[in-house]
Structure formats: C-alpha cells, structure tokens
C-alpha cells in the first residue's frame, strides 16, 4: 500500500472519483452536443452550485482546526473567496436566465468576483509564508516574482493595453475587463507559483498534498477569469464556452484539496 493509499480516506477517493467523472461527462456533453442542453443551466448554474459545494466542504475542513491554528485561518480565507466567486456565478446565472443575455460589464456579479480576488492572494501568500521555517523562501520568491513579472509584461502588451486603448466600448467596461487578466496574474497566479515552488521542496511530504490541489485549482479559476475577459472583450464569449469548465475544474480541485487536508491532518500513520 502506498503512502497516499494509506492516508487518503475512502470518502475523499469517492468524491474525487465521482466528481471527476461528472465533470468530464458534463463538459463532454456540452462540447459534443452544444444545442442539446440548456447551456445556462449546465455551465452558469452548474458553476455556482459547484462553487457553493466547494465552499461548504472547505468550511468543514477549516472548522476541523482549533481556533488560533494557522490552517484554520488559511482555509477560512479560501472559503470566503470561493463563496464570493460562487455568489458572482449565481448572480451571473440569474441575470442570464432572466434577461437571456450576458450581464453588463461591470455588473453586480463583478462586485463578488473582485472581492474574491482581494481575499485569495491574502490566503495564498499566508500559505506560502507559513513554510518560511521549513524552506528558504528566497528562491521561491525570486522564481514566482520573475515569472509573474514576465507574464504581466507580455499580457500588458498583448491584451490589456490594446483593450484600454480601443474606443469601441465604454472606458469603465474596458477597465473592468482589463482588471481580470491583471488580477489573475498578479493576485492569483503569482502567489500560486510561489506556493508550488515552495512546496516542491517538500517532495512527497503529505503536508504539501492539499496545497498542490488548492493552488492548481486557484490557478485554474484565475486563468479562466483572464480568458473570459479576453473572450468577452472580443465578443467571443457565450455561456457554455470551454472557459466555464475551467472555473468548475478550479472549484473541484480546491474542494478535493480541502478533503485531502482533513485526511492528511487526521492520519496517525507516519510510515
């Protein structure tokens, strides 16, 4: 029996397996038969429901830890960010369902999305910083800072600057759409890279397992938001686009990460 088999509970394996199958079938159905399903129900409401489910599982994990423990604060912050994003998805789905058109940008949904983007970097930086006594943080900070700066420069030149300079849409809409790719890079992907480079030093150490999943999940949400902005700006986004499943993948990975965290922290076996 491998270490993972000994530590990961049947419940986590079941939820992870069933979730993966549902996610694959769900996205395959929407991709292969786009006209056969109500895309709003599948992608927009589906994303919101999955987001709230992830938030509930994350809250359960956060409350497993005692008051004053760092992990409780970290998971509570992730829970708050995912809840805000799920509210944003719900607001988006509500507007699309009632008006049969994409919501205005900026709209009520953006209040929740932006609030989530304020909380997620705080949580991710707290997680990375918590490893400072185990890992020399200079190299992870250097790598994450360098990659983030390089990508931010490229994105500024390729996407954000042309978006801001165009005169075919309102300035406030251009600023809102420019915020998401920039926030995705600087506020989410930068800290995600920092966490990944930091926990790579732990090798197969099980304390890193939940953060691999949560960090990649947060990265998937961030990349999806950036792609959504790009598609919306170019009038190429419709509900049910592949990008919707990027958000779902992100929520799913964070949810599984929260389940793995409980298993890792409650396992008594050390070898």
């Amino acid at each position: 029996m491998t270490a993972a088999e000994a530590v990961i509970s049947k419940c986590t394996k079941g939820v992870a397996g069933a979730g993966a199958v549902i996610l694959v079938l769900y996205s395959a159905a929407a991709a292969l038969a786009p006209g056969a399903f109500d895309q709003v129900f599948l992608s927009d409401w589906g994303g919101a429901i999955l987001g709230f489910a992830a938030a509930a599982v994350i809250l359960r994990t956060a409350l497993y830890f005692e008051r004053g423990e760092s992990l409780r604060t970290q998971w509570l912050l992730i829970c708050a960010a995912v809840t805000l994003w799920a509210f944003g998805d719900g607001m988006f789905a509500l507007i699309v369902s009632s008006t049969h058109a994409s919501p205005a940008v900026p709209g009520p949904q953006d209040v929740f999305y932006v609030a989530g983007y304020v909380l997620i970097p705080i949580a991710l930086l707290m997680i990375a910083y918590s490893y400072r006594r185990l890992v020399d943080m200079r190299w992870p900070v250097f790598v994450a800072g360098g990659i983030t700066a390089a990508f931010a420069g490229l994105m500024w030149l390729a996407v954000i600057q042309p978006s801001l300079e165009t005169t075919t849409t309102d300035f406030i809409e251009r600023v809102t759409l420019a915020f998401y790719p920039l926030a995705a890079l600087v506020l989410a992907l930068g800290p995600v890279i920092l966490i990944i480079v930091t926990i790579t030093r732990l090798g197969a150490g099980r304390l890193a397992w939940p953060w691999w999943l949560a960090a990649v999940g947060a990265g998937a949400v961030a990349i999806s938001s950036a792609v959504y902005s790009y598609l919306t700006f170019n009038s190429a986004y419709t509900s049910g686009s592949l990008v919707d499943y990027g958000w779902m993948l992100g929520y799913y990975l964070i949810l599984v990460g929260a389940l793995v965290e409980r298993d890792v922290q409650s396992a008594r076996r050390t070898s």
Binding site: A3, Y64, F65, E66, E69, S70, L71, Y129, S130, Y131, R132, R133, L134, V135, R201, L202, G203, A204, G205, R206, L207, A208, V264, Q265, S266, R268, R269, T270, S271
Partner: protein, 76 residues
C-alpha cells in the same frame, strides 16, 4: 547518522519529505553546537521544541503531537 537523528528524520519524512526533515534535525543539532550524528537522548527536549516551532504554522496541533509521540515511541 546517529540513531536519534535517524528516528526523527524517519518520523518527519512522511509529512515534510526527506530533504526538509533532514534540514530540521540538522538545524537543531547545529543550534546545540554538535553534528547531527552526535544527537543523544538529552537532546530530545530541544528536538521536540524545534519540531513544534517549525511545524506549528503548517500542521494541526494534533498532527504535531502525533509526530512527537511517534518519535518518543521509537526512541523507547
């Protein structure tokens, strides 16, 4: 590597990996002014204190106490 150092690294390894576990035990030994393979039973309180200090931000209290209990059981 001394026996106590080996036991500590073996107990920490599943949680933080071999390299970091080795670094934690080595750092404790250096703070006591001795090489890692000279750690002995009298150094156990210092090892316990350092393990609690480095793991406190990344692990639950129960997890840390399980690791320390595991070390004590293996030492006995």
């Amino acid at each position: 590597m001394g026996q106590l150092a080996e036991i500590c690294v073996a107990a920490l390894e599943p949680y933080i990996g071999r390299v970091v576990a080795d670094t934690v035990v080595r750092a404790t030994a250096l703070s006591l002014g001795k090489p890692m393979d000279e750690l002995c039973m009298t150094d156990l309180p210092a090892l316990r204190k350092n393990i609690r200090r480095v793991l406190e931000p990344v692990a639950a209290r129960t997890t840390i106490e399980n690791i320390i209990r595991d070390i004590e059981v293996r030492v006995e």
